[in-house]
Every structure is written in C-alpha cells, then in structure tokens.
Symmetry: C3
Subunit: 257 residues, 3 copies
C-alpha cells in the first residue's frame, strides 16, 4: 500500500482536514496519511510548491501527494492526477505542477471525468476517494481519462554568469531563515579559487559556513542547506525580521577575477 501525503491551506481549526481523511479511510481504513502542512497561506501557490518540492522526494517512490491549495473551483475547473518523477500528485489544474519539477508528467488524467460531479469541497468529494483508490492498487488510467495539456507555472530561477549569480528569496521558514533559489552546484562551478562577495539587504558577506553553529549568536550565517539552496540565517535569531528581507528580496553573489 502506498503512502498518501496531504498538503493544504485548510488550517487546523476547522473540520476540513479531518473530512478529507475520513473519506480516504472510508475507502480503506488501513491507509497511512502523512500531513505535510495545512498552514499554507490561502491560495499561495509559491509557498505550496516550495514546501511540496522540498519534501516529496524524501518519500518512497509511488507515494501519492494530495494537494488542496486554492482548491475552491469554478464550474469549468479540472482536477488532475499526474505521475511525475516517480510520484503521484492529485489536485487542481492550477499551474502548481510546473513549479514542482522541470520534467513533464509521464501521465496526466482528469480525475473528475468518469462520473463528473460539482462540489464546493472537491478535496473531500473528488480528491480523497481517488487518493484512496490509487493507494489501494488502482492505476491512474482506472481513475480518469487522459489529459493532453495542463497548466504549468514557471518558477523564478536564479541567473548565473561567470561573474555573478543573481537570485532571490523564495521561502522564509518558521525560524525566519531566508531560503534562496541560488544553487550549490552553480556556486561550486563558478567559485573555484575565486574570492566572492554576497550581497543582500544592506549586508555584504564573504564566507559560506557548513553549519549554523559555526558563528556566534546574533551573527549572520550563510550555508547551502539540505535542499542544496543558499540559506541566510541569524544564529539564534530571526533573519527575516533582523535583516528586513522577505519573499522575493534579491540576493547577489559577485565573483572576483
């Protein structure tokens, strides 16, 4: 039996999360559901895609990821089941899937095509049942008709030249750490033997650490995190507040000749 993960902007105060789980467990009470987060800001696809992207590969292949963000829907909206990078994804046709991977889905079906219905709570009424059946052994082809085109938003990527990497803050975490879209692999290739300066807000730093505890409390610490992305923190402090940086703030690395 495959695992099911669940990511939403439902919050944890209402009955919404439990209603979706109830419908999954009604199909098969042995299924295992792992919450990713339900604290995504309402309709924030950038935050949802960052969060899912940061974790889905940690799950076993063929895990089913149910995503209910911006899931209220108009009468013509589609619900998709995708196979992408060896994992299954279920959710709206809202563009999120293009932000998850540069690869195209190997299979896409309309999961509201066999017995089409309208619902004001599609995560419960459409996605939950499909997730449960898929986890219990059904195939995507069993669950919907093939779809040729789907929306793919494109994520903001950093630009790298020989002299410079030009990136942005793409996520601020619970601790206030600033996660950028600057890739460790780009930095490795371009930095060989060169001095460099990293600029963000009013700061300029010349070092990248290997761990948060390499600097004193209150000092800025830059490191490549477990996702291979440049992260800016303040040791035992909230970098976002202390540095005044937020989502989309620019971060620049200049390499000296």
């Amino acid at each position: 039996m495959a695992l099911i993960t669940f990511l939403s902007d439902f919050g944890t105060t209402d009955h919404y999360v439990a209603a979706v789980k109830a419908k999954i467990l009604e199909v098969n009470s042995n299924l295992k559901i792992v919450d990713i987060s339900h604290d995504i800001e309402s309709c924030n696809l950038a935050q949802a895609s960052f969060t899912l992207n940061a974790v889905y590969r940690d799950f076993p292949e063929a895990t089913i990821h149910l995503v209910a963000v911006n899931s209220s829907t108009g009468p013509n909206d589609k619900f998709l089941g995708l196979k992408l990078d060896g994992h299954y994804f279920l959710g709206n046709d809202n563009g999120l899937w293009g932000l998850l991977s540069a690869n195209e889905a190997s299979q896409v079906v309309n999961i509201n095509s066999i017995k089409p219905m309208t619902s004001t709570f599609p995560a419960r009424d459409i996605l939950a049942g499909v997730a449960a059946k898929l986890a219990s052994g059904s195939t995507l082809s069993d669950l919907g008709k093939p779809v040729k085109e789907y929306k793919r938003l494109l994520g903001r990527i950093s630009r790298a030249t020989k002299k410079q990497i030009n990136g942005h803050v793409i996520h601020i975490d619970h601790y206030g750490n600033l996660i950028t879209n600057i890739l460790q692999e780009d930095f490795k290739v371009l930095s060989k033997g060169k001095a460099f300066s990293i600029k963000f807000g009013r700061e300029t730093v010349h070092h990248i650490q290997n761990s948060y505890n390499s600097v004193d409390s209150g000092d800025a610490v830059l490191l490549f995190n477990s996702l291979g992305l440049l992260e800016i923190g303040i040791s035992h402090g909230d970098a976002s507040k202390l540095l005044g940086l937020k989502f989309d703030s620019p971060v620049l690395i200049n390499f000296e000749e």
Copy 2:
C-alpha cells in the same frame, strides 16, 4: 477495528494531546487515531459542536469520537459514552450531545461507573482507555452502567416562513467565511420561482452562486456549502473582517410575492 477521532481545546503546544494518544495506544498499539482539531477555543461548546457535527458523518459508522472540550470537571461531573446516529461519542455530560443531532442517543452509559475515579486530566485517565477498549471490540454495556438522563443543549436553528428565512452566523472558518444555519432544503422549498433578497450587515444581495470562483476577486459570494448551509464569503478575501460580521450576526432572506 474502529477508528477513533479526537477533538479538543488542548492546543498543540503542550503534552496533553500526546498523553491521551499514549494511553489509547498503550491499550492497543494498532489503533488508528484521527485528529479533528485541537484548536477549539477553551470551553467553546458551540464551536466544538459545529466542528464535530460538520465531519462525524464522513467517518465510517461505529467510529468512536473522543471529545475533550471543557473537560475539566467538578467532583460530581459525569463522563458519558453515547451511541448516536450509528456513531459512538465519549466525553463530559456537558450538553454538547444535544447540539450534534436532533435524534436521541440509542444508548448512554456512565463510563466512570465501573471503577469510579477522580482525575484532573479525565481525557487521559478516563476517556482514552474507554475509547481504546471500544475500538478494540468492547461494547458500551461492558464499559459503563446505563444512564437515563443526560444534558442536551439545543442549537440555535433558523426560522422559516413563506416570506422569510431568519438565520444567524454559526461559524467563522479559517478563511473568514461565514457559515449560517440557513438550510438549503428550506431555501429550495420556499424560493420556487420567486425573487429574493439576502440581507447581512450592510449588504443586500440577490444571487446565490454554485462555486467560489463564480465572482470576481473581492466580491461577496453566497453559496450552499458542502454541509447544505448558506455560506457567505468574499472571493480571495476574509468575509468576517471585510463585512464586520461575527458569530451570531443575523442573516435574513426575504422572498418576494
């Protein structure tokens, strides 16, 4: 094995939720516990009953619903196990059960009657063990002596005449959507072929939509939600804040002749 759901006002910062789960799993580590919410406001029975009512029917019949809201207790307080509408409910004799269903419980037992104890943490010390045993195959009769009378608070219901439905806001969700006690079935019967106006706060609207995305961002959207209740939202906005409505605010539908 039956599922156990868990609803409380314990919050998620302390050890309280985990302590109850530990005691359930100590009896039978194969049991499955589904959190409904632990963010009910302290002692808010209206919120607790709305939330449980909105979701319990989504679970399979014979699911066991453990409720710890306002569960601190005086020396004479009772703890009940009820069978109601095919589901089991465990909690204080605090009136909540009358808010859940118009039906009477088919069975009610005092679950602190066989080896009575006092505890400042009854959810852990009384409810958890009973939930675990019930889910593992015991019957209510095994777990307590029959009770003839129990407290039943009555929920505020909407009043419907040929000319008017007179309701109230009974819940504000995580998004700020206002959920009323106006029933879709009442509206269907009374609205046939008639024009109508819906008044709430300073607004008067004349249309009910089928989906949140039927209106432009920032506009009010009224629809009958997945619970069959009239819900007032603002597309991509917080209706409670923007309209100045809150719990118990009146909502009125007038039908023209």
Copy 3:
C-alpha cells in the same frame, strides 16, 4: 514494533516535520509515529524537557522518543541514543537528558559513529533512520559506539524545609495555567495538620482544591495536577496574564506551627 514519538521546534508551516517522517517511513512504512508537539520555542530546552517529561511515561516501555530541539549543529556536535527509565531517546548531546530524569541512562551510544556524516538537517539525515531501525528491531549497540560521558543539564528543583516550600513556575500551558515545581509528595509530608499560606505575585491563598470546577469563574484555583505538581489557574481565565506571572516566577508555601 515500538512506537516512535516526535518532539521538535520545527513548527508546522514548513516541510521539516514531514521530511523526518518520510525518512522513517522509507525504512519501514508500517511504523507508527505520534507527534508530541512541534511548537516548542526555538531552542527552548526547558520547555522541551518539561513537555517530554510530562508525557513519556504514558507511552509503553521501549517507546522511541525522537527529539529535534536546538538540533542545528556544529561540526563537533554529537548525536546520542540513550536508554533511560526503560525508554529510548534520540537527539543532540545538548544536556536535555539530564532534565528528563534523575536517573542515569543505562546505555548511551553515539548514533553518528558508524558511518559519520555532517548534515544541516540531522533530524532527517541521522535521527530518522536510527529511530526507524530501533523501532524495527535493531539494538542501540547495533546503531552506534558506546559513549561514556554526555551533557546533563540540571533542572531547577524546589527546596523544602519544615517551615517552607520554595518553588518556581516551570511551565505555562496553552490555557495560561501556571505549573510549578512544587511536589505533591513534599506538600503531603510537610502539611500534616498544619495551616498554610501560598504566596505568588500579589496573591496569598490558603486552600488547595481537587478540581478546576471547585471555584467560581474568575477565581484562582490551586491544585496538584496529573503530574503531581502544584498548578495555579484561574477558573475560565488565563492565570498567566491575569496574575502577571511567568516562567521562573517564585511560588512560596509557608506552614504555620
């Protein structure tokens, strides 16, 4: 199969909690993980140790407690697996273990000694796999080399004489209740037949209740809670705010001769 509990300061907004669970379930998808809390304040070892201490004994013996608080790490930091009071604990060598129990661990191993690695996300990359293997039947000896010394912070304990018990607030819970380090057993021994006064903030009280509902709404209620510790609350109110007390505020019991 043993249960795994999970306590962290990761919050619930990011992917961190799910990433650790993914790595546990990748080893063995049948394992059961129970969240204790992920809302510990960043790096607050006092809060983490109170919370874990308050609940770990409610779990069956041999449960595995994964703790990721202050888990960012310098290059020389150690990760430990301990057997203590019949339970297993996994986490940093940050002193927390001394706060959990007056007993010494019966076994301690360095769980990053067999294939040592550095990681900016050790809960995912080191602790999760060890927890999964331990829960699936491995022994501590399989998972790391023995460690002779480990950090043990000492908790603040109350001082008791014949005339006085001198304690402090050690935790403020979700309701604002103040939990002190004054032990019920000390009070029992010293109070025999004597009148007493309890002083905290500007208040002096002369009674200890058996339940929260023994006093009127708005009145202070003192009782020995389910942990055997003196707790100060306000019936249907937030004691911390209303009394102006916080972590470490003194609470004094004087016994009259």
